[in-house]
Amino acid sequence: MSAVATRTLLELDDVSVEYALRDRVVRAVDGVSLSLAPGETLGIAGESGSGKSTLANAILQILKPPAQLAGGRVLFEGRDLAAMKPDELRRFRWRHVSLVFQSAMDVLNPVMRVGDQFVDMLKAHEKVKKADALQRAGDLFELVGIDRNRVRAYPHQLSGGMRQRVVIAMALALRPELIVLDEPTTALDVVVQREILQELQQLKDELGFAVIFITHDLSLLVEFSERIAIMYAGEVIELASGETLFRDPRHPYTVGLMRSFPPLTGPLERIAGIPGSPPDMAAPPSGCRFNPRCPHCDPTDARLYARQTDERPRLREIAPGHLVACHLVEERP
């Protein structure tokens, strides 16, 4: 786990993504730098509009106009994905990086048996006989906890949780080094959600793939990730281990977010939450983008206030492995 010696699987270097709309340009992801070691689980938490899903699409190079990579590089084992030809990218995806998103269970073709959809996917990537492909589909079904005979089922014959498991099995089929999970269980019930996440954890331990787990549910990330990046208004504003974020969150947004979950046990008191709403990304606030909602941003300290409202805070390491982008933390550590 030492930060220096580990190899880097994926590196995001100052990645920005813009949506070029008719009358204006919206920068949904703004200068995000993150790296991921092989086998690591990195959580990305943020609210709607924070840019977390756009970032996932940038990692897989599946941004569609009007979205486009506006700056920075996405490096997978040192190779710049933006420089790959479409053909190369198509072979690269699924074999090296696969994606499971929230409504992934709805991507299954309703009039085709799920096993045949597996066969199609495998055939697109390698020379394989149908019987062998079906055999492998059955093996993968068992891996994710579905009876192998269900390869003959149509999607409507499976529950939402089972369909999401089928998609996860597909994502694992070519043994990629990285799986990006974008709100993989948000559409599912709590019990099914936990079953699937525990299975994924076991599969990860067995197969050794790395995971980027994107969700708005920070409490899930604390359980299932080694490091967590908190995104707000297109930027990473804090990065640390789940343990650190829980015990010592430093960015006022993270602090508010951690306090937004009412406890299931122990004493109950009224929680204040975070005032206001996430910003309109077409016209984000100047300076620190959290400043209109920040409880520590007021004009009494004129000099600090000027920085908070004018100057973009930069992500700085305040302790080994703990990075925060906040003027207040910088000035009053």
Binding site: V190, E195, S260, P275
Partner: protein, 291 residues
């Protein structure tokens, strides 16, 4: 207002079946009471029947069996308009529940007009009061906005203001925060807790988020496969659950505390919904097989 025991809305043996050959019993012999100034949490997974209960109570569906009593009278004989002036709803999706081409003002004026609550002269004042009640300020500005100009949380507050316009005694809230961002959910929960206290409203709070039910509900009903399997004072039920399904549900809740999470209890077989609700502790009922 605080005749503590008097139920505002009560259901007895409520049952709803869909289809035939064989019919699916979505709600099966459900009984409970909503009291003024009390939030009753109805928790369960999707498919448990909790939304069907809300639709029965709002009279969007008619029951296949059992009865709904308002102030002691069977509501099947009450005119729908009169019923709706007492029992209001808040839905899950604040994007779908407001008309996109109408301003906030319109959404709040309509119930006032339909139910003849404000005269033409003081409509604006009443609308502004409603907006202030749900924390939308400055009201004069908000009233002139269209839904797309508001955030999800603000839209849900408009939906609550609309429900409050007719001065209801009961509000049915079906997953009112599940589509909102985490950072604004607490604000909505606090608002409901305040409305319960300040206006004495009886809330039915339907959710799959058990921690949020613990945060605001005085009592909880745990529903599974169409039946109530456990019910009682919130802390009693959630801190010391008795039914296998309640225990399973609690074990699935993610915990933000590192290492604090519970192992998921294995869903070895379907938790039983057989038997009768018996009072295991004062006010705390659990469904137990009759031996």
């Amino acid at each position: 207002m605080t005749a503590a025991a008097a139920a505002t809305l009560e259901v007895r043996g409520l049952t709803k079946e869909f289809g035939r050959r064989p019919p699916v019993r979505a709600v099966d012999d459900v009984s409970f009471a909503l009291r003024p100034g009390t939030i009753t949490g109805l928790v369960g997974e999707s498919g448990s029947g909790k939304s069907t209960v809300a639709r029965l109570l709002s009279r969007l569906y008619s029951p296949s069996g059992g009865s709904i009593l308002f102030g002691g009278e069977d509501v099947s004989r009450t005119a729908l308009r009169r019923y709706r002036s007492e029992v209001q709803m808040i839905f899950q999706d604040p994007f779908a529940s407001l008309n996109p081409v109408k301003k906030v003002q319109h959404h709040l004026e309509r119930p006032l007009r339909i139910h003849g609550i404000a005269s033409r002269g003081d409509v604006d004042a009443v609308v502004h009061d409603l907006l202030r009640t749900v924390g939308l300020v400055p009201p004069a500005t908000i009233a002139q906005k269209y839904p797309h100009q508001l955030s999800g949380g603000q839209r849900q507050r408009v939906a609550i203001a609309r429900a409050l316009a007719v001065k209801p005694s009961v509000v049915l809230a079906d997953e009112p925060i599940s589509m909102l961002d985490v950072s604004i959910r607490i604000g909505l929960l606090n608002l409901m807790a305040d409305l319960k206290k300040d206006l004495g409203i009886a809330f039915l709070y339907i959710t799959h988020d058990i921690a949020s039910a613990r945060y605001i509900a005085d009592e909880v009903l745990v529903m599974y496969a169409g039946r109530i399997v456990e019910q009682g004072p919130t802390d009693d039920v959630l801190q010391d659950p008795l039914h296998a399904y309640t225990k399973l549900l609690l074990s699935a809740v993610p915990s933000p505390e590192p290492g604090g999470h519970r192992e998921l209890l294995v869903r070895a077989r379907r938790p039983s919904t057989d038997g009768e609700l018996v009072e295991a502790r004062p006010g705390h009922f659990v469904r137990q097989p009759t031996t």
